[in-house]
């Protein structure tokens, strides 16, 4: 297990990837980082004020060589068979199931109409969802003091 800690909009993110996988990259531009945008998609932002910056066409990362194939990597929960290699994303203590697809993309049922090119983007996107999600138990959703790891 390879653990990475991130922080996004005051939320504490922990990513537990299968052993041997590359840690999440943050290839967002400076402006996206300042704006706390989860994934840089300037190419699609007609109103983006730095649309003329040099933004190479995003290529899906393909860590196929690094990724354990089914049956060769960490033990898979049978209920998750068919979804790729599972891993965990923890945000402010809440755990979310995520998967490395065979394509090398990163996926979670939390946001099933998107895949991400690295686990950091996925984790930040889930964290963004917590901004508007109903608290799971009706209690406060976001700690007043950001947790640091």
């Amino acid at each position: 297990m390879a653990t990475t800690h991130l922080e996004h909009k005051g939320r504490s993110i922990r990513i537990d990837l299968p052993e041997g996988m590359a840690p999440p990259a943050d290839d967002r531009c400076e402006e996206c980082r300042k704006k706390n945008v989860a994934v840089c998609t300037h190419h699609d932002h007609a109103d983006h004020d730095h649309v003329d910056h040099a933004h190479p066409e995003p290529e899906p990362t393909t860590p196929m060589q690094q990724m354990p194939m089914p049956g060769q990597g960490p033990a898979m929960d049978p209920a998750h068979a068919g979804h790729g290699v599972p891993f965990k994303v923890m945000i402010d203590g809440r755990s979310f199931d995520a998967f490395v697809m065979l394509s090398g993309s990163f996926y979670s049922h939390e946001l099933p109409f998107m895949m991400y090119s690295n686990p950091g983007d996925l984790a930040r996107a889930i964290a963004n969802k917590l901004d508007w999600m109903e608290p799971p138990d009706g209690g406060p959703e976001k700690p007043e003091t950001p947790q640091r790891s």
Binding site: A38, H83, L111
Partner: protein
Amino acid sequence: MGVRRNQRRLSAADKTRFVAAVLEMKAKPAASYGYDKYVAMHVAAFVGGPNTNAAHLGPTFFPWHREFLRLFEVDLQAADTALGEDGSITLPYWDWTRDNSPDPTKKAGAIWKDSFMGPKGNPVASGPFKTGSWALAPPGGSLKRALGDSVLDGNTVPTLATRAEVDAATANHGFDTFPFSEDSDGGQSVSGPNSPTAKGVAGGALPAGQYFVVITYQNGNGESLPSAPRKVCLGGACTPANTGTAIEVTAPAARPSATGYSVYVTAVGGAAGTETFQAGPILIGTNHTVTALVVGRARPTVNTTSSFRNVLEGWFPVVSRPALHNRTHVWVGMTMSGGNSPDDPVFFLHHCNIDRLWARWQFRHPGQQYPQVVPMVGIPGNRPQGLNDVLTPFAIRPIDVLNHTTLGYTYDTDPPGVAINVSP
């Protein structure tokens, strides 16, 4: 037969009637014509056991949602009848290439008026589905929409797909292709070395009967390019009479990157386990003679060169840039961005449009192109999605819903006087 119409062509009375029927569904339990069971059904299509995610990321994306919408429409009509109408109501569709504004004061944003779907908001604060009037299915909550506003949802995208993107998607000749996932290829242009030919002698270890033969290119990147399936007849009882060289299939032109090809033979009907994989990969430029047909492990029996399904679903060309169907979910955002997306009634207008575009593609590319067998290997293909496999949780198979006009409805965009052709 009901006609599903563009929501922009509905009268004010039509819209009021549709909203009333949806609210009536919401007030009823699942055993009746209740709304919330559809949310649970869609959530279950993402999480669960070995049939997990039967509704997405594979060829069943279209037939699963077609049946899902059909059942919803039947319940909608029951609700309509309960309200004193004649039950003839149909689902409208939302053409998001044209009605692409989040602003309800603009014509292209009229769908978001308070008299119909209501506006964006965290939560939605006006219209028939505002907080306090519309509760999400258990565990509950309020409807939330971003409509491209990244302040409301940091994961949204600012624009919807265009007409040109839809046209490019429906130009794909193939329905779906290996690996039947988010990685299935789109596009149509191929070029490369001369096409090989596979020849064979009838009979072998297979009984007399009809078989499909497919030649599929392979390369080191896992790409594949199958030929259209050629139906051949083996055995003395064949009509026309078998000549002893019944198998002769020429492959499509290969991509320059192709390193070899394989030959697949499948019994007509696609029964699992009747397919055999012939001596591959065979070097490009070499013709292959089929010397024995041995019952073997099921292999993909695709008959397409690209995946209309994957392009319209929205994973092509880059999975991290949501396109077409996926893009609409992400643009509406918030409630519509999760597995519980049917909690937002606009889900049904969106998917009605997706179903219409499948029908449009079928009119444009006649013939049965749904894969006979989808391999039970790979990710996320670990569930049966072939032509004759039952779709969870429905009691229907893809083959049962290929022709929408047999299901009791048409679209106002169906070409008049043209019968849909989904025959092999």
